[in-house]
């Protein structure tokens, strides 16, 4: 797996909003058939990096290059707070997105079944709980079988069983050859699922590697220990990029 060229390669990526630097010299290879997890404290640039990898914003420095196959949709994306146009059922919503890549209701149904939400197919999207909306968002992200799927905190707001299910879905996608990038605070599930972990702190990559290898290198027992050992500063305070406390 690791000898193949990455599907997506972020090299020395910088991102800044005016004078406020969010990402500094971030290099991340994203490989097919693997789950790459971005972890780090709140406000450290995970969402910005994920959006940059998904092509939703241009980096102010460095490059993001897609080496993958031509596809109707190259990258699927789940926003951190997914929402859908009200007045439509879940199936109508997904069928609309599927129609943009040449699919239809059958593909929409298949993606709903994948996330275990087929019973909510006829429910209006505005009547869904937060967790169910997130599952619809994950189904949407996989519409068109994109070679790369970027999921921003896919398990946020879900109960433990559904969180586990979401990471299982990510694992299944990777097993089918898809490159999956997730940001998450659920370190236990990340440790169980991720093939590669990227630890971000203050807009830079402070650790990167296979979870077990990271534990060995730092001489710790778990990914949570890796996290605590890698992150500098007070873990109980939110780091606000560009602000000096």
């Amino acid at each position: 797996m690791t000898t193949d060229p990455p599907l997506l390669e972020a090299s020395n990526v910088e991102f800044a909003y005016g004078d406020v630097t969010i990402l500094r010299d971030v290099s991340v290879p994203v490989r097919s058939g693997a789950v790459t997890a971005l972890i780090g404290p709140n406000g450290t640039g995970k969402t910005t990096l994920l959006r940059t990898l998904a092509g939703l914003q241009e980096p102010t420095g460095g490059s993001v290059v897609y080496h993958g196959p031509a596809a109707a949709r190259e990258i699927g994306y789940l926003p951190q707070h997914p929402e859908f146009r009200p007045g439509f059922t879940v199936l109508e919503t997904l069928a609309f997105y599927a129609s943009l890549v040449g699919g239809g209701r059958d593909e929409a149904k298949a993606q709903l079944e994948r996330v275990g939400l087929e019973d909510a197919a006829t429910r209006r999207v505005e009547a869904l709980s937060g967790g169910m909306t997130r599952l619809v968002g994950i189904a949407q992200a996989t519409i068109g079988d994109p070679p790369l799927v970027a999921l921003d905190e896919p398990a946020s707001g879900l109960d433990p069983g559904m969180s586990k299910h979401v990471f299982t879905v990510a694992d299944e996608l990777a097993a089918a050859g898809t490159a999956v990038v997730v940001s998450s605070h659920d370190l236990e599930l990340v440790e169980r699922t991720a093939d590669q972990v990227v630890v971000l702190d203050d807009g830079t990559v402070v650790e990167r590697g296979v979870p077990a290898a990271l534990c060995d290198r730092l001489g710790v027992e778990s990914l949570e220990d890796v996290y605590e050992a890698s992150i500098t500063g007070d873990l109980s305070r939110v780091r606000v990029q560009g602000e000096t406390a």
Binding site: G61, H67, D145
Partner: protein, 302 residues
């Protein structure tokens, strides 16, 4: 070093495993449809939104009721088509922009606020296709409201007219349903130009409050500001009297009013001074429509 666009692609990256090859085959089965098909999808989505939004249905009913009331109370229904047009023209100059803005000011903003614009960016649909689809979808809803309401008024004239009418305006002074049809078409063009402005606003702003504020500003500019600017230009000598008929095309409202006078009212009356240049006015409305959609597309590309 700046970021490399995502379109950079390594076509030689074909070191896929068997699993990846199989996956690629399934992906190739779901190729992106042609641009016209993609636009159709967006149009369909907008049409469903319009038809399922009670506010639009209520707005349409209120609009029709107001027009029928004005035509009835003003006596136009009994007098004929052209008197009805004269009765309706000024109210429509106010009401059509308001209804058009209501149909368009949140069209793209709603998707932006929900994060669906970001999601749509990962699908093979260009911003111009999205804007065009939104415009066409909302336009069908808006024209349904405006045209159906005016046709109801036209029907009321058919029923309520006290004297028999001539079908064709073959001579000066004749009243005719064809003149009314021309009025409906011109009103539809005016509505479309304002809808395009509203969609541009919805693409430019990031919040509902700013959309409302900018919509009010746009309405004031369209309904009052541009006319005042023309009056000022005429009073201060920047505009000559001979060029005024062309300058009116700068304002969509004046262009619409001028077109109605030139091609409907004066045609029926048979005489009168030239009030506008029909060609310049049509160009003016087209420029407002296309220009606004171009602004919306540029805003989506930000």
């Amino acid at each position: 070093m700046t970021g490399t666009p995502r379109s950079v692609r390594d076509d030689d990256a074909t070191t896929a495993t068997d699993d990846e090859t199989a996956l690629e085959d399934s992906r190739s089965a779901a190729r992106a449809p042609k641009p016209t098909r993609r636009i159709e999808r967006i149009v369909g989505r907008e049409l469903r939104t319009v038809s399922r939004t009670r506010t639009f249905v209520l707005l349409g009913a209120a609009f029709a009721a107001v027009l029928l009331g004005i035509a009835w109370v003003g006596g136009g229904v009994g007098a004929g088509y052209v008197p009805t047009i004269v009765d309706l023209l000024t109210p429509l100059e106010l009401l059509v922009p308001i209804v058009a803005v209501a149909f368009g000011y949140r069209a793209i903003l709603g998707d932006r606020r929900r994060g669906e614009l970001d999601v749509l960016e990962t699908y093979p649909i260009a911003p111009r296709e999205h804007v065009l689809g939104v415009f066409v979808g909302r336009a069908v809803g808006l024209l349904g409201t405006v045209v159906v309401s005016l046709l109801l008024v036209g029907g009321a004239v058919v029923v309520g007219r006290e004297e028999p009418f001539s079908r064709y305006a073959s001579h000066a002074g004749a009243d005719s349903p064809l003149l009314f049809a021309r009025f409906v078409v011109l009103t539809a063009l005016f509505a479309l130009s304002i809808l395009a402005v509203a969609i541009a606003i919805s693409a430019l702003v990031s919040g509902t409050r700013s959309a409302l504020a900018l919509s009010v500003v746009a309405l004031v500019v369209v309904l009052v500001g541009l006319d005042l600017a023309l009056v000022y230009g005429l009073a201060s000598g920047y505009l000559g009297e001979s060029s005024l008929v062309y300058a009116l095309a700068v304002s969509p409202l004046s262009a619409y009013r001028g077109l109605v006078f030139e091609t409907v009212v004066i045609t029926a009356a048979g005489t009168g001074p030239q009030t506008a240049s029909p060609v310049a006015s049509l160009i003016g409305l087209a420029v407002w429509t296309i220009g606004s959609l171009a602004v919306a597309t540029a805003a989506m590309n930000r």
